[in-house]
Subunit: 280 residues, 2 copies
């Protein structure tokens, strides 16, 4: 496997409303064309921070490759914006399996090849998994203080995987939040990490595709700074996923799987506590 | 053509960090499978507010149909989550033209079928178009005060088309910002509206795909509340598009095509004006 992380930000000159020029950092965005056994599969537009993990996670989440053992090598070559994947036995029925396009819409038009919703019907996430309220706050605070392309350049989404005690395991940013989640799926595959006792955090919205991908990875907890959609909510109910939206500071909205959250009321100030008046 | 706008929001119960239940509105998200001449083309995940315009704009922006005259009918049937498009002469080479997938990443993994970047090379937007600073502010204020699903339920993106004097022509929201821009392309087609003297506004980021779609519609001005990416910036430079990012209040950052903006310094308070101290 190559290790071909590319430059993540780029400087441009901007002019503000008073005509004043300044230098601005913007995130990189580059095409990465995936070739599997010399056959062109797809072009992903990506930040370029974790191209090998992205490629693996894309193949995993699209259910094109079932096991890491089926992959012999992953070589990224930015000089031609391409990644070459060699598999042990090829992808069976690749024509048929990539023919049905579902253009999902986290906020771009994502592309999940057909049949994923069928698979969702077979998933049940562990009902006895639990998450403590204090761990939710530890996660939110870890993300808040994390060094990131977002802080430098904005315009990217971040995804992260945490242990059940709130330890940060992976943090990936990309111009597309679906790429970020795919890259984490790739890292979990490479490291043999299971999802059942993990917590997934995303800065993006909890649309159907995000919930489906979380379910595919077997993760019972999905946290977001943002909100959800009707279908994300519906799929979460179907697979038994706990959805926590609008996570910010000590606030969150539990939208599904509420029984898994262990409330710790002592963490919050009483509602009738006197307000601290800021000193001028 | 049908007129099958569906319910745009949905009520769910949420539980907050203190265990208190409340009712929350979330945006709808539903599949819409596009059949062209009885052949399944793609499934779009959408809010459902403007499905006919979305379908037309999708076919237009993917360059699958070249002229509105080529389309005989567009019938949406939500009972089967499908839209049936009948064309006059079919789509030539539909197999080949939908085989090459570019999974773009506004923030989902968008799907622009192959060859769009090639087409971009042939586009030049009108160099003599101008936009007054006061019109930028009128547009930002119009969006701020617009009734919207976003205000009620969050988690959607909005796109709008404005005249060069700041008059709102179309406003479309969707769970995917690429759907919202496609729907506006569909409305422009239906009404025979050209882009050369128009201004496009989006709440979403100015990634390569958004800039490409704006260029395809022939619109020289692209405004966003959000930022841009390296490739969005690069494509804007190539086609001669004026990009205004981070539009909020009186602030904006002009990132490309600066010569088209007509600054009106009198609109802004002088920088050394005494600050108004709020009365306690």
């Amino acid at each position: 496997m190559s290790a071909a992380s590319a430059g993540l930000t780029h400087e441009v000159v901007s002019i503000d409303e008073r005509g004043r020029p300044s230098t601005l950092h913007i995130p990189a965005e580059r095409p990465l064309t995936v070739y599997v056994d010399k056959r062109e599969l797809v072009t992903l537009m990506t930040l370029g921070g974790a191209p090998e993990a992205l490629t693996l996670g894309y193949l995993r989440n699209q259910r094109l490759v079932r096991a890491l053992d089926d992959i012999v090598s992953v070589q990224v070559d930015w000089s031609v914006d391409a990644v070459a994947v060699v598999t042990r036995n090829g992808i069976a029925d690749v024509e048929a399996r990539t023919a049905k396009k579902v253009v999902t819409t986290g906020c771009g038009q994502g592309s999940v090849f057909g049949g994923l919703m069928d698979e969702v019907e077979t998933i049940t996430l562990p009902p006895d998994a639990r998450l403590a309220q204090s761990v939710v706050y530890r996660i939110v605070d870890t993300i808040r203080t994390q060094q990131s392309v977002y802080k430098q350049a904005g315009s990217v989404h971040g995804c992260a995987l945490f242990s059940n005690s709130g330890e940060l395991l992976y943090f990936v940013e990309d111009v597309g939040r679906h790429n970020a989640v795919d890259a984490i799926a790739g890292l979990m595959w490479l490291d043999g990490v299971a999802g059942a006792d993990k917590v997934f955090y995303t800065t993006g919205r909890l649309t159907s595709e995000m919930v489906i991908k979380g379910a595919q990875m077997g993760i019972p907890f999905l946290l977001s700074r943002s909100g959800t959609t009707q279908m994300g909510h519906m799929v979460a109910g179907k697979v038994g996923m706990s959805l926590l939206a609008r996570c910010s500071g000590t606030h969150f909205l539990l939208l599904a799987g509420a029984e898994r959250l262990v409330f710790e009321p002592g963490l919050l100030e009483p509602l009738n506590a006197p307000r601290r008046v800021p000193v001028a």
